[in-house]
């Protein structure tokens, strides 16, 4: 509780960090912040061209299916990658100034969710011009986004701390994220694999991102209520992971200034 109060007393630092995170990333490039929206759109373009040829497309509205998968995925992957390096990247101030260290990963997660909400305008644009339209289910969007933020934060708190002690962490994370991209139904739908092995399906169903992605598609594309029981399970798992992750972070943070 004391720590929470302290983070609140440093809220101006949190705000300026978030601002720097959002504005500073593409500073100096001609298109600036627009790149954080162009990048996922370009990947959508690549997959939309390539995959129907490779797989023989069976998903209706594949373009929308891709957009509703890739934009939340971009949110996840950006936060986890930037979050893992967030403490190391600020070694200079870690060594010289005291402030609650969790501000750094926290500002990465919050700037990610802000970016995501802006990116959702692109999703809305696509569903509108494609004639799919929108429904009241969109009010569930913040709930899903918050669960995803919690899950990301639960990962980056311990990862950013471990990365101070073992620098390989960030490269391992990049690899695992790459794997996870194919282990999550982003490019494909589980419905396509009717005769796949049981283990394969179980593994993908154990991936919390699977259910987060499905929920986004439910509200954007299929206009139906997501499976709230599954979403609740993901929420609980994220909450437990968040607590464990934060405890690891607190345990490790005392050595940051020495180890970095």
């Amino acid at each position: 509780m004391n720590r929470l109060r302290e983070i609140i007393s440093y809220k101006e630092l949190l705000k300026t960090s978030i601002r720097k995170e959002i504005r500073g990333k593409y500073k100096g490039s001609a298109l600036g912040i627009l790149w954080s929206f162009i990048n996922p759109l370009l990947s959508v373009l690549v997959y939309a061209i390539v995959f129907p040829y490779l797989m023989g497309n069976v998903i209706d509205n594949y373009l929308i299916y891709l957009v509703t998968g890739i934009i939340p995925w971009t949110f996840f992957v950006t936060v986890v990658q930037a979050g893992t390096t967030s403490i190391r990247a600020n070694a200079g101030i870690i060594k010289k100034v005291y402030f609650p260290r969790e501000i750094l990963p926290l500002s990465v997660a919050i700037s990610g969710v802000i970016n995501f909400f802006i990116s959702c305008l692109i999703v809305l644009f696509f569903v509108l011009i494609n004639g799919i339209g929108i429904s009241w289910h969109l009010i569930l969007l913040p709930i899903i986004a918050i669960i995803q933020t919690m899950l990301s934060l639960a990962l980056i708190l311990p990862l950013s701390a471990i990365n101070i002690y073992i620098k390989d962490t960030e490269y391992i994370v990049t690899f695992v994220l790459n794997m996870l991209f194919y282990g999550t139904p982003i490019l494909y739908s589980l419905a396509q694999f009717t005769n796949a092995s049981k283990i394969f399906l179980t593994l993908i169903n154990l991936n919390p991102l699977t259910h987060i992605m499905n929920s986004y598609r439910d509200i954007f594309l299929y206009h139906r209520t997501p499976d709230m029981l599954l979403l609740g399970c993901v929420f609980l798992a994220s909450a437990v992971l968040l607590i464990i992750g934060y405890l690891i972070f607190v345990r490790l943070e005392k050595g940051f200034a020495e180890e970095v």
Binding site: K11, T16, K27, G28, K96, V97, Y98, A257
Partner: protein, 377 residues
Amino acid sequence: MNDIAIQVIQMSKNFKRIFDKPNTLKERLIFWNKSKSEVHHVLKNININIQHGETVALIGSNGSGKSTLLKLMSKILYPNQGSIITNGKLTSLLELGAGFHPDFTGRENIYFNAAIFGLSKKQIENRMEDIIAFSELGEFIDNPVRTYSSGMYMRLAFSVAINVDAEILLIDEILAVGDQHFQDKCFSKLVELRDSDKTIVIVSHSLDTVRRLCGRAIWLYNGEVAMDGDPADVIDHYLDKMIEDHDSSQTGPVEKVEGQIHFDEPLMNEIVVDVSEPLMVRGWALCNIANTTLKIYLDGMEIATAMRERRPDVLMTYHDMYGGAAPNAKCGWYCPVKLNNYTGLHSIDAILYNNFDQKIITQDRIQIKIEGNQVIS
């Protein structure tokens, strides 16, 4: 208990001195049991109580652990044993311009920097005008920081740091900012903070600053508190110890013997009226060897060998100017000169001889004019 601002209880801090840090997983796995590290005890069993409103200096030679202690107090580092308890809002000015972003303007950077110190937006806005005025940056405040000269950069950074309204201020060697005018301004700001019941802990190599600013000095020697008390006393002992260490570390002959000698009184061309008492001639002499003789001459005639005395002021100035201990503990000298048979212009020489080879190391001469002796002679 509430009047204690900082309490350090039986605190020890070790650093692992690692010769080849295994940074990657591979190195960690391979060198699992062969970590070539040794533990270096930076601070050993430190006990310090600092009351609210005190201004305390930490002094000590390089590597004595004073900056580490300051970092421990500001919770950047954590102790291995014991604990540190602080009461009140604490700001550490260990780094100027933390969080400055070169592409943003001075004004925006004040926000970034002040936010790192834990100020709220409203608090920053309230101080904005003071900070800009103190930095003397004028209209440059709305230019990007990358266009600043290094002096302007440091001035802005210091202005933010000094205007952060904390109850406990930890300051590490940051007074050497900008030109003399700005340094004086910083110093008076610190005096103002000291007099306004703030608690200040300062690490400084400038003993003069310590003496003028602080009410208490703590001398750290090899990671332990060697002395704690009145700055003048502590500085005295500290300088003595430094000379002692310097002497014991000196092995082998000095390559080139050098020295400097100076008269404090009488002044050049001073008119001496009263000659009933011997004229006391005083000064100081510094030399990089200890075994010397200082002789006084009147009009080229040897009168006496000068007596040596302690001169803490000279040692302190030497320390601040050249950073280190002067080689001679008793660098002052004095010698009474009888003048009752003299009148008119006379010269006094002070010559420093090397006892080893009887060669002159250095010399100085002054002239005096004796009046008022005519009646007798």
